[in-house]
């Protein structure tokens, strides 16, 4: 049984997980606080994590019907993420683990998104190809075993979710941007505006979304205030189409290379209906499986950190007392 904490971005999360079984998975979202800024302000996020971390941890333990002394280890996201935010989780996890003289397991956040697939209700085992797209990351991972993954491609600039957020802000649609753009796009024509699908001619598997955002900036400027306001649904639909196109093109290219039998989608952007449909069509055409984890396991959560930790070497007391968080990748990054 593992107690896990996750505070890498703007959600304060704690969970208790036993093998593939989730005993509790508590997420306290700060989205409403960051809404006014149209994005995550690091200092605001860190302050909220500190306010919430003890209550969220208590709730995870009590919902699981467990005492701290009963857990086998305390897991925590070591990175990547916002350093000030990570430090709140890391300090808390180290102190909790040391108080009960239990091991600490520092987990890689991206390994967590991959490991969400190992959890109930429908756990799958490697090998599979995993696309993780969220506000913080865009990653194509080749997963051959439980304890690691191979980075096949990643974003060179903005993350896919960031592109949604910035686009939504430019169109005055609010935050978080993914759901806002999806809602506006329902009434729009995705072919109304031509946005560049970056990297589509690049033979690699990396992503880039900053050019798309710039293209939207120029298009909005060209149209002017009135015509932009009238074209919001078309702009949103076309913009969403360009993001999804890039994700699907790279997914397809990775399948061409890999011979993977299953595709798993993770990260908050995996909630996007168009992405789900297009990935579904792609997998159907190739007669391979598509694994969609429940939404609460797509967005940042601590159950996935526990799942990654279950396949990561624990550090016994007192060796972890000097452990630190890392804004880049975790020490155990794979």
């Amino acid at each position: 049984m593992i107690l896990a904490l996750e505070t890498s971005c703007d959600d304060t999360c704690a969970a208790v997980v036993d093998g593939p079984r989730i005993l509790s998975n508590v997420v306290s979202s700060q989205a409403s606080f960051h809404e006014q800024y149209g994005g995550v302000v690091p200092e605001v996020a860190s302050r909220h994590h500190l306010q919430l971390v003890n209550a969220v941890t208590d709730a995870a333990l009590s919902q699981a019907g467990a005492e701290l002394s009963q857990v086998d280890a305390v897991a925590v996201t070591q990175g990547p993420g916002l350093i000030g935010a990570l430090l709140v989780g890391m300090s808390t996890a180290k102190a909790l683990a040391s108080a009960v003289r239990k091991p600490l397991i520092p987990a890689d956040h991206l390994h967590g998104h991959v490991a969400a697939n190992f959890l109930e209700p429908d756990p799958i085992d490697p090998p599979f190809l995993c696309l993780v797209a969220s506000g913080g990351h865009t990653l194509l991972a080749g997963v051959s075993d439980h304890s690691s993954f191979e980075t096949l491609g990643q974003t060179l600039d903005d993350a896919a979710g960031e592109a949604f957020d910035k686009g939504a802000r430019l169109l005055g649609l609010g935050y978080p941007g993914g759901p806002a753009i999806q809602r506006a796009a329902q009434e729009g024509d995705p072919a109304a505006f031509g946005f560049p699908v970056a990297m589509s001619r690049d033979p690699g598997l990396d992503f880039s979304f900053s050019g798309l955002k710039t293209a939207l900036v120029y298009r909005v400027r060209e149209l002017g205030e009135e015509r932009t306001a009238a074209s919001v649904p078309d702009l949103a639909a076309s913009y969403q189409r360009a993001i999804v196109d890039q994700l699907v093109v790279k997914l397809e290219r990775a399948l061409d290379r890999g011979g993977w039998g299953v595709v798993a989608l993770g990260g908050g952007v995996a909630a996007n209906v168009e992405l789900r449909e297009r990935a579904g069509q792609l997998c159907e055409a190739r007669e391979i499986g598509l694994k969609l984890v429940p939404l609460e396991l797509c967005t940042d959560n601590a159950a996935m950190i526990a799942a990654a930790a279950a396949h990561t070497e624990p550090i016994p007391y007192p060796d972890y007392l000097t452990f630190d968080a890392s804004a880049q990748a975790a020490n155990l990054a794979v």
Binding site: Y37, G38, G39, V41, P42, E43, V44, S46, R47, H49, L50, Q51, V53, N54, A55, T57, D58, L68, I83, G84, L87, V88, M90, S91, T92, A93, K94, A95, L96, S98, A99, V100, K166, L170, K213, V217, P318, L321, T322, F323, D324, A325
Partner: protein, 245 residues
């Protein structure tokens, strides 16, 4: 029973275990060679070392943590560690003003003959001044017995001097902010002990003393004294520049 106290509001990490006025163990860690504080990797290590030196966790019944004002990240490391230890070990916890801990250091220097001619009687008012970055200071007026008078404030050097000039009896300024603005403070007649005087560093033994006097509070109510709003507007401007650039 004993109190475990620590402070991470400044660049110096300080940990102590004390029983009343008796210090059972203490430890200090200065920044690394890169000049950055080492609170995250060293706080728990120092805590375990001090507690062991003082006879083990069974002797500890109270936790006192410096709540600033000071470095936001430093404070969050200290307070989240303290809260989790209190939560997991069922300890009483109190939040202690870092400025008052500094003032307590001045008071004990004054009353133990650390300063010539003081004769065990504190005659000067401690004026703790911490460097708040961005050209500002955190400061709070204290009386000669190190009791706070007024609220902790964020002041620029000019306002700091205006305030210091009104304090009676004559203040003795301590802390990294006092060192940074030594010339300004001395120009209005405030005494600032020499740079190497220990009175400029927060000492956890004073955090313990203040923590023993304060009422315990629920762990989740122990919060940093930020004194400033998050600088979200500045952060957003930077973002907008890249947006349109």
């Amino acid at each position: 029973m004993a109190t475990l106290g620590f402070d991470t509001a400044t660049a110096i990490l300080t940990v102590a275990v004390a029983d009343g006025r008796e210090v059972l163990a203490e430890g200090t860690r200065t920044p690394g060679s890169d000049g950055r504080p080492r609170h995250s990797p060293l706080l728990l290590l120092e805590v375990e070392r001090c507690v062991e030196g003082a006879g083990g966790w069974s002797r500890i019944d109270r936790l006192a943590v410096g709540v600033g004002p000071g470095s936001y990240t430093g404070l969050r490391i200290g307070i989240s560690t303290a809260r989790a230890l209190a939560q997991a070990r069922g300890l009483e916890i109190t939040g202690v003003s870092t400025l008052s801990a500094l003032a307590m250091g001045v008071f004990s220097r004054e009353t133990t003959g650390g300063s010539p001619g003081s004769g065990g009687q504190a005659t000067r008012a401690p004026l703790p001044v911490l460097d708040a970055r961005r050209g500002q200071t955190f400061v709070q007026v204290h009386d000669p017995r190190a009791e706070p008078r007024g609220e902790p404030l964020v002041l620029g050097p000019e306002e700091l001097c205006e305030l210091a000039a009104t304090v009676a009896p004559k203040p003795l300024a301590a802390g990294d902010g006092a060192l940074r603005f030594r010339a300004e403070l001395e120009s209005v007649g405030v005494e600032v002990p020499e740079d190497r005087d220990p009175v400029h560093s927060v000492q956890a033994r004073h955090v313990c003393v203040l923590g023993e006097m304060a009422d315990a509070a629920p762990a989740e109510t122990i919060e940093p004294l930020y004194l400033r709003e998050p600088d979200a507007k500045r952060w957003l401007k930077r973002d907008e520049r890249t947006d349109t650039g």
